[in-house]
Amino acid sequence: MKDLFIKLAKIDRRYIFLLIAVAVILPFLMPLNFPTRATSHTKSVFDIIETIPPENNPILISFEYGPSTMPECHPMAYAILRHAFARRVRVIGITLSADAAGLGEEALQRIAKEYDRKYGRDYVFLGFKPGVTAVMLSIGEDLKRTFPRDFYGKPTSEIPMLDSVHNYTQIPLVVPLTGSATATFWLVYAGARYHARVADGVTAVIAAELYPYIQTKQLAGLLAGLKGASEYEHLIYRAGYTKTKGQASRGMDALSIMHLVIIAFIILGNIGFFLSRRAPRKGDQA
């Protein structure tokens, strides 16, 4: 038994890769439909958007993820946009990362079409601006001066929805969707300086770092990773804003199985480790 575990500990890693591939593919071919329960941080974001009056001041969504973090953040974007458009809450889309411009636009156009929302009246996409912190601070002074034109080249002064929007004072919620440190920059620059209300949608990698800001209420809510996205999809599905659960919910089966496989690997690896550390018994000596 001990030899088996020691042998297993030295197995070629390509067998491990194969097991992982099977663990991810099988739940898609044989859906398990595991139930989901939303955490309080996810529910906070949902509750805030629920209280925003329709066809009034817009929320600001900052698409700051690229293709490398898309599987976690894009479903969040879809879910939040579905919630906003279903309630006729207006949306301003911006991006502080060049990679995200195409993705942000795709999300806005696709979900707006689902709910029959009109560009310029219900949503606007202002595109990419480099400078990160400088842009966050500049929006606090004057949004239209920071983005003199939208993504398509139209002057922002001519967009009806932005007539009464000057800075964060007219924006009830800022939702950065990001996989980087900009999640905290929004709290520091927009939150501290201009008292903007910020709720982050982040990849799981940086979620653990944000808990100090949740405790001080600098962060109004948090969507953490694919699980956070699936929790939000579950909330909007239950509230009747969408007829189908989204992409993240479909991926949760595979995520759950993969986690169980990795937990099993860690346990097996440690069993092998402890067995190989045990001192040999007297009878074993030749």
């Binding site: 976690e72 595109g127 520091v188 953490a224």
Partner: protein, 209 residues
């Protein structure tokens, strides 16, 4: 006639598999895909920068709004390219100084407020906390943990005696923090893989709806 959407999906799928082939071993398909990616992404950034930043923030203010003060940042930016002229290479220090000095200055005020003062405020015990024993215990644990963590990174004095006890407590808290970070990292990386598999099974092979 094959629809263009199908062609594009196949291109995306084959490039995905080329990258995955690295798991078996490094090979020419992976290298080709890797270099293709570098070229495409560099040009993407350039084009997006031009339309979304260069034109509205420099071309329009200068040539349409006739705000000639913008010549200054324009010239400063151009000085970055002095790097390619050996005798004038030192000129790059001007735009770097402006950028670094500017961003350093920008970070001080908001950082003090959000990262230091607000966080200190959140760490302190409030008289109202004493009414809830559970909350009080948690806040005391947090306080002990913060002090232990900060003391762990204090290297100006040897860690012995009472300081060693405090730093050992700090290590426990740091280990829990790192464990939490690892757990979340596993979720993050798994999600990225799931995203790709979802694409291959749904959009390419149509095995799932």
């Amino acid at each position: 006639m094959i629809p263009m959407d199908t062609v594009w999906t196949w291109i995306a799928a084959l490039l995905t598999l080329a990258i995955f082939s690295f798991l078996y071993k490094d090979n020419p398909f992976y290298k080709f895909a890797e270099h293709l990616f570098v070229g495409v992404s560099a040009a993407y950034t350039l084009v997006i920068l031009y339309y979304n930043s260069f034109v509205p923030n420099l071309i329009v203010p200068l040539f349409r709004e006739h705000n000639y003060w913008f010549i200054i940042p324009g010239l400063l930016g151009l000085l970055f390219f002095a790097r390619f002229i050996p005798k004038l290479g030192f000129l790059i220090l001007f735009p770097i100084a402006f950028t670094i000095g500017g961003y350093a200055g920008l970070s001080i005020g908001p950082g003090l407020q959000a990262r230091l003062l607000k966080q200190l405020q959140g760490s302190m015990l409030h008289p109202a906390d004493f009414a809830d024993p559970g909350l009080l215990i948690n806040k005391l644990i947090v306080l002990v943990g913060i002090l232990g963590t900060m003391l762990y990174f204090y290297f100006s004095k040897e860690h012995k005696g009472i300081l060693k006890v405090a730093t050992n407590i700090g290590i426990w808290f740091i280990m829990v923090g790192f464990g939490a970070a690892f757990g979340y990292t596993v979720m993050a990386r798994a999600s990225l893989l799931i995203g790709r598999v979802q694409f291959l099974l749904t959009d390419w092979l149509h095995l799932i709806r």
